[in-house]
Amino acid sequence: MSQITSEIKDEVTILFAGDSGDGIQLTGGQFTDTAALVGNDISTFPNFPAEIRAPQGTVAGVSGFQLHFGSIELFTPGDQADVLVVMNAAALKSNLASLKKGGIVIANIDGFDKKNLRLAKYEEGLTPLTDGTLDGYKVHEVDVTKITRETLKESGLGTKIVDRSKNMFVLGFLYWMYNRSLDNTIKFIETKFAKKPELINSNISVLKAGYHYGDTAEAIASRFEVKPANIKPGTYRNIMGNEATAIGLISASQKTGLELFCGTYPITPASDILHFLSKYKNFGVKTFQAEDEIAGICSAIGASFGGKLGITTSSGPGIALKGEAIGLAGMFELPLVVINVQRGGPSTGLPTKTEQADLFQAMYGRNGESPVPVIAAQSPKDCFDAAYEACRIAIEHMTPVFLLTDGYIANGSEPWEVMKSEDLKNISVNFAEPREPQDPAFLPYKRDDKLVRPWAIPGTKGLAHRIGGLEKDFETGNVSYDPENHEKMVKVRQAKVDEIANYIPKQKIDTGAESGDVLLLSWGSTYGAVKTATTKLIDEGFSVSHAHVRYLNPLPKNLGELIKKFDQVVMPEMNNGQFIKIIREKFLVDAKGLNKIKGLPFATGEIVDKVKEVLA
């Protein structure tokens, strides 16, 4: 056994990549759980191919899972990887750019045979393992397939099944590299294959073989240690964004006692919200997979009319179909939450990639003056809070509400300190009271001091009334073509949305001082990258602060004030500049955009560089 050193690291990013069939997501998930259990902070991001299962070995079929874990607080899945694990040539080809200069490559050499090289479209006769492509990287070639087969040659299992446990070898090897216990994964294997005991043994053997390979292989010069992070004591779980959204919605339903109805139509990357919700039938959740997005939202409005919590979910192209109905919900003044898990656009665009380019669609994608509150989630776990808050605003202010998340945080995950039901903010539901014939006539559009009309649900005695999309009288809600009434109604619908600013928190500076040279002003899923960049810049001595806006409409009342305390405003967005237009228009400040439109989240460095450029 050679001399193996142990290096201590604050944070490490590992990128697992291989064919869709290689069990990449599972491998990544296991490492994540194990890291979480020892108390590392973590942040993950899976990266799926657009094809379901494109031909094995091709670049189109590569699936990736990026995991960032550390002894410090983390806010992103890492800009670039320290370690790249590749199961085949295609995986290397499509991910090498994501590896840090000088990083480690762990390559399954069986995935670099002639056929795989050809499928990955490497030049005939050349292999990147030797042709200089990997100069400057630390490369560990391992014949995973061979060793796995070797390990299980006595198992009596068929080759196909044997080969499926290759990922356990890799996992074991990485556990060794990072000095991790196998216990958690062994437990997992035992549960997972409870009904197929022969697979329990085989998988555990291969896992251990991987671990022991680390011990014995000559090649590896150092192991790494990542200490537990200084995380607030408490009980944690790992949570994906879409899961957090679903749980946030159900929590709002449970806290209010309003049955949750989700009318939706599958679309990437939003479908998982439906999948999660549909499991919780015992929470009274009703999911309706409609014939299209229009039926999805209209059914949700129907449910809201019936006095329940109507939700609809989709992504950009599907949201495009909902505009007319969102306008109607605005006229109805009924609660409704519209969730857009944004993806790369325009049109069908890049369905499995991320982007923030649907903000304007949320703000303005309807005919007429049709204001709708818009809020955005900033990280996987934050989807919970954002979804809960969207429900609160919808119900308490009787309005459709847009919740924007995106593919990056929807599929990404991070640890979440488990909340208790009691910790959740109260949401008040005000159904109109039944009336007797002798009571004064019911006025379905008469507003309270929040400018909110009553929620009068069918089945309530004496409240029978009709609603519709034609302009309505200010109080009775009857159809009205009166010009003055129309203007009054347009203004009051706007005022009602503006009024919400009185019921949301003031804008805070997230990181940095209250005034200074540069304010980084961001929204949505860029949070982690911008925060990390800000910290870095401050460390380097720059006068930079970061404010992150959850409430995009209405804006927090103090936002203008806050902005004006900085000489410059820089706004990173994963689009061609949308929120920046709102800020420029509203506050007449010459904010500068930093725009990335690559279907990928920001790297910290990109933000750091931009700020330095602005300050230069």
Partner: protein, 341 residues
């Protein structure tokens, strides 16, 4: 209904305080009247009844009913209905739609509503025209129709709405006429009693843009020979003296003189028979053509099939039973936690 109800409920109790604004002479008035009167007969509770419509002249209907109501979006009525019924199976829901609303823009929601079999009464006002937008042809307008948008005649082959409904596996299919309130009334009653989506197509005269479209079937002279009023268990007879009958000759429906055929050959209407219904909905000849079959009215088909909202509710109930009352904290905790001390 409360037992001490002193006053008899009348159609008027279902009329809202809004002025009815259809064109004078419009067939919609007669339908409104029958629906209000059927509501009275069924003693529907105003507060537990909901009328939902799309957009069109016909879709103004809910405004005129003293019940809960929703005038929604063009063609989307079925989706609102499905959402509402899924969470509120307790309500008595009616959907009002036009031929444009349900068969043009709303065609998809319409067929999906039928296949899902949500428990709602659908009244389709078919005037073979777009009334509200002032007279363009609709998917039920006869080919060659001259309208504002087809000054030289329409080219599209029209839908046969009931054949389409049958193709979508509707569980209750009927047809009636604005000008035959006596026929309309029992059909509406049966429709409202059916558990599932009850589709009633109502031929409705638009006296402004398509006056007389159905006169062949409604006016005294032509009605007897051009219509056949089907009744469950009775043979298909028609004509002024009910002297004509329809039989199936091999696979072909044929008109014969009653006296020329043996009773055993007669086609006895059976609203539960899928095959018969499939053929019956296809009696859709152009009445201007020679040797055409009469147009049938009445209840063509009825089938018992589980209703959608009940299936949804059953799954919820089953899971509540199996897993017990929901505990939010368990949900928040999830299956896998770790603790940092």
């Amino acid at each position: 209904m409360a037992e001490v109800k002193a006053k008899k409920i009348t159609a008027k109790d279902y009329a809202s305080d809004q002025d009815v604004k259809w064109c004078p002479g419009c067939g919609d008035y007669s339908i409104l009247k029958q629906v209000q009167s059927v509501c009275a007969e069924l003693e529907l509770n105003n507060d537990e009844t909901v009328f939902i419509s799309g957009i069109g002249c016909s879709s103004r209907f809910p405004y005129y009913m003293e019940t809960y109501g929703m005038h929604s979006i063009h063609g989307r009525g079925p989706a609102f209905v499905t959402g509402l019924k899924t969470v509120r199976p307790d309500l008595n829901v009616w959907m009002i739609t036009g031929d444009g609303d349900s068969l043009s823009i709303g065609g998809n929601h319409f067929i999906h509503l039928l296949r899902r079999n949500v428990d709602v009464n659908v009244l389709m006002f078919n005037n073979q025209i777009y009334g509200l937008t002032k007279g363009q042809y609709s998917p039920t307008s006869e080919k060659g129709k001259i309208t504002k948008s087809t000054p030289f005649g329409s080219i599209d082959h029209p839908f046969n709405p009931l054949a389409l409904a049958k193709g979508a596996d509707a569980t209750f299919i009927a047809r009636t006429l604005d000008r035959d309130p006596k026929h309309m009334r029992p059909v509406l009653l049966e429709a409202s009693k059916h558990k599932g989506t009850s589709l009633v197509e109502i031929y409705q005269n638009c006296n402004i843009f398509n006056d007389g479209a159905f006169f062949t079937f409604t006016e005294k002279d032509s009605k007897p020979d051009n219509t056949i009023f089907v009744e469950h268990g009775a043979p298909l007879l028609f004509g002024k003296e009910k002297q004509k009958a329809i039989i199936l000759d091999g696979f072909t429906p044929k008109v014969v003189n009653l006296e020329d055929v043996d009773e055993s050959e007669l086609w006895i209407h059976d609203k539960y028979d899928k095959v018969k219904a499939s053929i019956l909905v296809r009696f859709f000849d152009d009445p201007r053509e020679d040797g055409c079959l009469p147009r049938p009215f009445g209840i063509f088909y009825q089938e018992e099939r589980p209703i959608y909202e009940a299936g949804v509710q059953a799954q919820v109930d089953k899971h509540v039973e199996a897993k017990g009352e929901p505990d939010l904290n368990t949900l928040l905790e999830g299956p896998n936690t770790w603790t940092i001390k």
